[in-house]
Symmetry: C2
Subunit: 238 residues, 2 copies
């Protein structure tokens, strides 16, 4: 099982996916053909073209999941890449096209999964830790479960002196833990998680990640850390 | 029909509800007893006590909706106040306790409705324009419909030079309008909407609000503006 979950797809001052190109190249070793899932944005053709352009230096051929029978497309590819955008729109489309189970099945049988932002959210057991606005209603918040814990992409530290009275990200995740006994990894921008079978490591920018667990103080996770024990999580959603 | 929908319950440097006390006093004229709905936060007793303390200067007696049979409580009161917190937790509780229809019915028959933040979100047709994290799954996003359009509380303008690559609020609401043909009023902090029957006005801080409609440029709405025509909205949710 090979899974790469990016916090974000674009870093400040860089091209789409440029900041993660080394990690992508490593994960896509041996992959000739990839299916891009563009449903988190409205413009499926434009989004797929953007992904194809970004991945061209890796000599990976890219097909959009909207361009044909997605099951046949998945079967003809060695990787699936679920792009970012709105998580609710993405998950609703995955349910409407009945793609969640086939993706899970293909990934269990060796297809590489790459997710970015919303594509990382739908790789979790549920989308309950997305930052996105619920612009449409999916039939369920249950998602792909390629890891057994939750991820909060684009994790942001509280800003000193911010007068905005909405909750900080840490407070929001505290509310999540009031309701659910499931660890949440806050992936700061520029970072990613890399799963190969039962091994899980944090990669990317040295800003690292922050781990939230019920009954514990939040904990800093440095880049390069081995997080394999998180794969043993027994998640209790309420 | 008397409805007061606040963007936020606490302004920087002020006590809970202090910034809106005049608007509350005006809306609660003649109200002796109010039911506070604390389900957006985890601590129902503490939250109700906080609301009771804030409303004490107005000589309004406050009961928590969790303290007894809520229908009996509603029938003994002249106002209901739905407090802020997490919108998904709040809406799930309103469904679980079967309170949406009774609240709608009481408000149609003269009970004053006051909402703040999450309490403002659940007064809209749906919660699709909340900023909150979907920490629990309500059976539906459909909500109270005390106004026929959507509100985005705590509306935030884009921050110049922000390097965070997540979407701005305006981009999020643009995504909402890609999927739904429904106006959204972005209520900046310190502002509120006041509905009395077929009259709707923007009140509060001079920062005003921003109106988003499909096919139109966003438009600034000054404090004091008459927004009654928004009550004629025909909402098209997808």
């Amino acid at each position: 099982m090979r899974v790469l979950l990016l916090s974000n797809s674009t870093a400040p001052g860089k091209e789409y996916l440029e900041h993660a190109m080394e990690a992508l190249a490593e994960m896509l070793t041996g992959v000739r053909r990839l299916v891009f899932v563009p449903f988190a944005l409205a413009d499926h053709d434009g989004y797929t073209a953007q992904a194809a352009k970004a991945l061209a230096p890796l000599r990976v051929e890219v097909a959009g999941a909207h361009e044909g029978d997605p099951i046949k497309l998945f079967n003809s590819a060695q990787a699936v890449f679920v792009g970012g955008g709105n998580t609710f729109r993405l998950l609703r489309a995955l349910y409407a096209r009945e793609l969640l189970a086939p993706i899970r099945d293909r990934v269990a049988h060796g297809t590489v999964y790459i997710g970015s932002s919303a594509g990382t959210n739908v790789a979790c057991p549920t989308i309950r830790t997305t930052n996105d606005m619920p612009i449409v209603q999916p039939p369920s918040f249950d998602a792909g479960g390629l890891v057994p814990f939750q991820i909060n992409p684009h994790y942001l530290d509280p800003v000193e002196g911010d007068v905005h009275m909405g909750e900080t990200r840490e407070e929001r995740l505290g509310q999540f833990l009031e309701e659910n006994d499931v660890p949440v990894l806050g992936l700061r921008e520029g970072t990613w998680l890399r799963r190969v079978d039962s091994s899980l490591t944090l990669g990317g920018d040295e800003v690292g990640a922050r781990l939230f667990q019920r009954g514990h103080e939040p904990r800093e996770i440095p880049s390069g850390a081995d997080l394999s024990r998180l794969l043993e999580t027994v998640a209790l959603f309420r």
